[in-house]
């Protein structure tokens, strides 16, 4: 695929400015409305938080303008609105959490900027395939290490070093995608050739498939050792998706589905907490069970969303505090309660837009690695959003993944902004001033 010389970037810049301003207005506006709805007055922290958002968004916009001018102008603003909406909800739930979230947003935006500046061309990453892969694997499995691993809410996903507690798997997730994109891009043809196999399903030689099996096994290890259904579902899905996209062979999809089913069945049979999650998914509203731990949470989320109805109870007017974990897993339900169907659909559409832009970036990327990278990163966002919203709304059993950009959580915000930075980079192509040919 060849990429034509970029058209005049100025119209895109105009759009970018407008969208960024819109994102800022919506974010600060939502936060303002929360204050008005909750207390009837403008929040006292307006200057501080408003300032952080304004400064952050403006700086990011300028950095994008300088370092990734050809990027889709909507990519950052959409993520920005999601971040702002999430922040407003968290502020509505707790001033303390809001202060922390504001800090993490600032850090996340900083990481975004640094990534964009440090990585002028996404192909730089292509050179470090195995290093990145290994690092990602280490990060994924870090919580298993005794001494620094911590189990929170049944999942051993956290690592505590000194005063800081973070989720290395969030970062590891991004690195794994980079690894996969790089590896699969290199081995694309080799993996497309099937030499051995059964019937119409043919698979390539083991040595090429090897690292993939390792990576797949890791996802199962995450499930079994760390007890995180959501993360393992995510990794597994990413592998299968990227493998299929890279090779074009539907066989991988089929095998993937079979393996997933097998893994799910195994998990169900082996773990009582998996069985519990499935039972909660199916029977959360059962009057006998509804007050039990776990069931009540999911039931409250549904009640909250139902109370919201079409237009919601109003920011600051509902009772999202009745929903457990409203700032993390169930933040979507809290949005549903206060902003109604309009709010939840808006969030979904924002994700659709974000993923759509990512896919577009993948299709327009000038190189295989870029395409696969953008595809993988978009898939992460799409699948993660689907998994958590689906879990909260009982389309699928609930798992503990966060809603990207919206949920409270430093590790999540930082890794998602890192992910966004990479997407913006691919979308834009190499930073100007490089002088290298864009064609491989």
């Amino acid at each position: 695929m060849s990429q034509t010389v970029a058209a005049d970037p100025r119209p895109r810049q105009g759009t970018a400015v407008a969208l960024t301003i819109l994102a800022l207005v919506l974010s600060v506006g939502a936060y303002l409305l929360v204050g008005l709805g909750k207390r009837g007055r403008v929040p006292v922290t307006l200057a501080v938080y408003g300032g952080i958002f304004a400064a952050g968004f403006i700086v990011v916009h300028l950095v994008i303008r300088r370092f990734a001018p050809r990027a889709d102008p909507a990519l950052f603003p959409v993520a920005g609105v999601l971040t702002g909406l999430g922040f407003a909800m968290i502020f509505r739930l707790s001033g303390g959490l809001a202060a922390e979230q504001a800090t993490w947003i600032a850090v996340g935006l900083l990481c975004f900027v640094l990534t964009l500046v440090a990585i002028r061309d996404h192909r730089q990453l292509d050179a470090y395939t195995y290093t990145i892969g290994l690092l990602g694997l280490v990060l994924l499995l870090l919580p298993v290490v005794p001494g620094i691993g911590r189990t929170i809410n049944g999942a051993r996903l956290w690592v505590a070093i000194g005063p800081v507690t973070f989720q290395p798997s969030e970062l590891g997730k991004v690195l794994i995608v980079v690894f996969l994109a790089s590896y699969l891009n290199a081995k694309r043809e080799l993996l497309s050739i099937a030499t051995s196999g059964v019937g119409p399903l043919r698979i390539p030689p083991a040595k090429h498939l090897g690292p993939l099996i390792v990576a797949w096994a890791t996802s199962l290890a995450v499930l079994f050792l760390e007890k995180d259904l959501g993360a393992s579902l995510l990794y597994f899905a990413i592998f299968v998706v990227l493998l299929w996209v890279a090779t074009g062979r539907a066989a991988y999809l089929v095998i993937g589905l079979v393996l997933f089913a097998a893994g799910a069945a195994l998990g169900y049979a082996a773990f009582s907490h998996v069985q519990l999650r499935v039972d909660i998914w199916l029977h959360a509203l059962d009057p006998q069970k509804i007050h039990a731990l776990g069931y009540g949470q999911v039931a409250q989320a549904e009640f909250g969303m139902a109370t919201g109805g079409l237009v919601g109870a109003g920011l600051g007017r509902g009772s999202p505090g009745l929903i457990p974990y409203a700032s993390t897993d169930f933040i979507f339900a809290a949005i549903g309660e206060e902003l109604g169907l309009f709010g939840t659909v808006a969030v979904l559409l924002l994700f659709v837009a974000l993923v759509g832009k990512g896919i577009r970036a993948a299709l327009d990327a000038g190189d295989g690695f870029g395409t696969l990278l953008a595809t993988g990163l978009s898939a992460v966002l799409a699948i993660q959003a689907f998994v958590i919203v689906g879990g909260v709304t009982r389309v699928i059993p609930l798992t503990g993944v966060t809603l990207p950009f919206v949920s409270y959580g430093g590790s999540s915000l930082i890794s998602n902004y890192l992910l966004l930075a990479l997407l913006v980079r691919v979308s834009s192509g190499a930073a100007p001033g490089r002088g290298r040919s864009l064609l491989r």
Binding site: L285, G296, A306, G340, L341, I359, A379, G390
Partner: protein, 492 residues
């Protein structure tokens, strides 16, 4: 790759469509069911407390029994009961911890503005951004009669019910001890919990309404029912009956005596009229045996007594416990009990509400009107939206028999056990009751039921365990003056 990526994009869209469909269900199509799920009580309460709950008024349309005031707490409105404990039986309580009772519960839809008749105004309020308001419930209670009942009963444990026979409207509904619903309406949880505990731990059970929720043996007041059965069976008020000192009961060595072991005055045979006037146990036992279990049971049930404590006989705006008289089949091998039941003991059970209903049926020429506690409901702007008019429930007596029984009951008040209920210039018909209960050694319950055709009012009173007179109590001494006080209040 391109083709796969495009398909992947479509797959993602499909995933999101699935989510979209589900949230549509949760937030739109299935929202009402979810919101009303009983486990969602907290949100339902919070929603309820954001409503400017409608007022409950007495029948004078001025006295406010329950109202809503804006509050600064987490719950936006506070329920207040300006009359305190006086109307507790009728209004019930409204508590965010313990829910609702009485009219607060039964008419909740009207008080919150959710009732069908109030919806137009409720929607208008919603559109105009006004807080949700409830409609006004106008009760049938007359504040003067209610005050008179409370004052007369004083600190004796018991209940008073007054019903207007021509309409069935309940004009007084009082029980002592009573409680102040304001205590349970507080928004401070610890206060409410403490008050609830105190009320429930009180051995006198202030939250149990003696007027409508408890049951006691009616004693001689039940002779009115027995009389009705006898009259319907063809016995006139002048029919004569043997008048022994003591009645030997069939199938047993037990006997029935009169009050205090006395003879009923009038000779060796007395009329039905004379027997009721002096409340003659011996004669009424005979009457009961003569009429027979089947007709006696049928008559009792026709007045609203039920065969058991469960099941509904007469509908009423708030929950109440109807009187009990067993099915005829119960007496198949229990002939002596027929005699004892005829004088209001054995398995007979009643409360002031039940006996007031008997009285109003007699007063209303034999037609028993359905009791009503609510006269009308108004919308948020004060316009009447529903008018609950009088409704006939049944015809336990023929007009001729009712007239005869009325005469007998006038006799009770003029020359019999009920003289304490006389009011100069007013015709009063009544019946006393002094009911044994438990082992028979406890102080009896003092009863009085009456009506005045002049005043169009029927009243029934029970004073538990004899009230201030204890074991010396009789219905005539303890309960009749209370009923008279209520009638006098109506006479003003």
């Amino acid at each position: 790759m391109t083709a796969q990526i495009r398909r992947l994009g479509i797959a993602f869209v499909v995933l999101f469509v699935v989510l979209f469909a589900q949230i549509n269900y949760i937030q739109v199509f299935g929202a009402e069911d979810l919101a009303n799920n009983p486990a969602n009580a907290q949100r339902q309460l919070i929603a309820e407390y954001s409503v400017d709950r409608g007022e409950i008024l007495a029948s004078d349309r001025k006295t406010v029994l329950a109202t809503s005031r804006k509050s600064t707490g987490e719950l936006k409105y506070q329920r207040r009961y300006p009359q305190g404990s006086l109307y507790a039986t009728a209004t019930g309580y409204y508590s965010f911890v313990y829910g609702k009772s009485g009219l607060e519960r039964a008419y909740n839809d009207y008080l919150t503005g959710d009732a069908a008749e109030l919806l137009p105004q409720t929607l208008a309020d919603q559109v105009l951004g006004r807080p949700k308001r409830g409609g006004t419930v106008v009760t049938t209670i007359d504040p003067d009669l209610q005050q008179a009942a409370a004052h007369a009963l004083g600190t004796q444990i018991g209940g008073v019910v007054a019903i207007q026979p021509s309409t069935g409207y309940v004009r007084a509904l009082y029980s002592y001890p009573t409680y102040d619903p304001n205590l349970l309406a507080s928004q401070r949880r610890e206060q409410v919990v403490r008050a609830w505990k105190r009320l429930n731990d009180d051995p006198d059970k202030p939250m149990l309404s003696r007027a409508i929720s408890e049951l006691y043996p009616p004693g001689s007041t039940f002779k009115t029912v027995t009389s009705a059965a006898a009259l319907a069976d063809g016995n006139g008020i002048d029919s004569t009956w043997p008048n022994p000192h003591v009645l030997d009961l069939p199938q047993t060595t037990a006997t029935i005596e009169n009050f205090g072991g006395e003879y009923c005055p009038g000779g060796s045979r007395i009329t039905l009229l004379q027997a009721l006037t002096v409340s003659c146990n011996v004669v009424y036992a005979e009457v009961g045996l003569d009429v027979g279990a089947e007709k006696l049971a049928a008559q009792a049930h026709a007045f609203g007594f039920g065969p058991t404590t469960s099941g509904e006989t007469l509908p009423f705006d708030i929950g109440w416990q109807h009187g009990v008289f067993p099915d005829a089949a119960y007496f198949n091998d229990r002939l002596p009990e027929v005699a004892i039941s005829a004088i209001g003991q054995a398995q007979d059970l009643a409360n002031p509400m039940q006996m007031a209903l008997v009285a109003e049926a007699i007063a209303n020429h034999g037609t028993e009107m359905r009791p009503r506690l609510v006269e009308e409901v108004r919308d948020q702007d004060g316009r009447v939206v529903t008018d609950f008019g009088p409704e006939e429930w049944g015809t336990p007596m023929s007009p001729r028999d009712a007239s005869a029984l009325t005469q007998m009951m006038i006799g009770v008040v003029q020359n019999g056990t009920g003289t304490a209920a006389q009011i100069p210039g007013v015709t009063v018909a009544g019946k006393t009751g002094t009911a044994q209960h438990g082992t028979g050694d406890e102080a009896p319950h003092a009863w009085f039921m009456c009506f005045s055709p002049d005043l169009d009012l029927a009243v029934a009173v029970v004073v538990v365990d004899g009230g201030s007179l204890g074991s010396e109590a009789t219905g005539g001494q303890v309960a009749a003056p209370i009923a008279r006080a209520v009638l006098e209040a109506a006479n003003r």
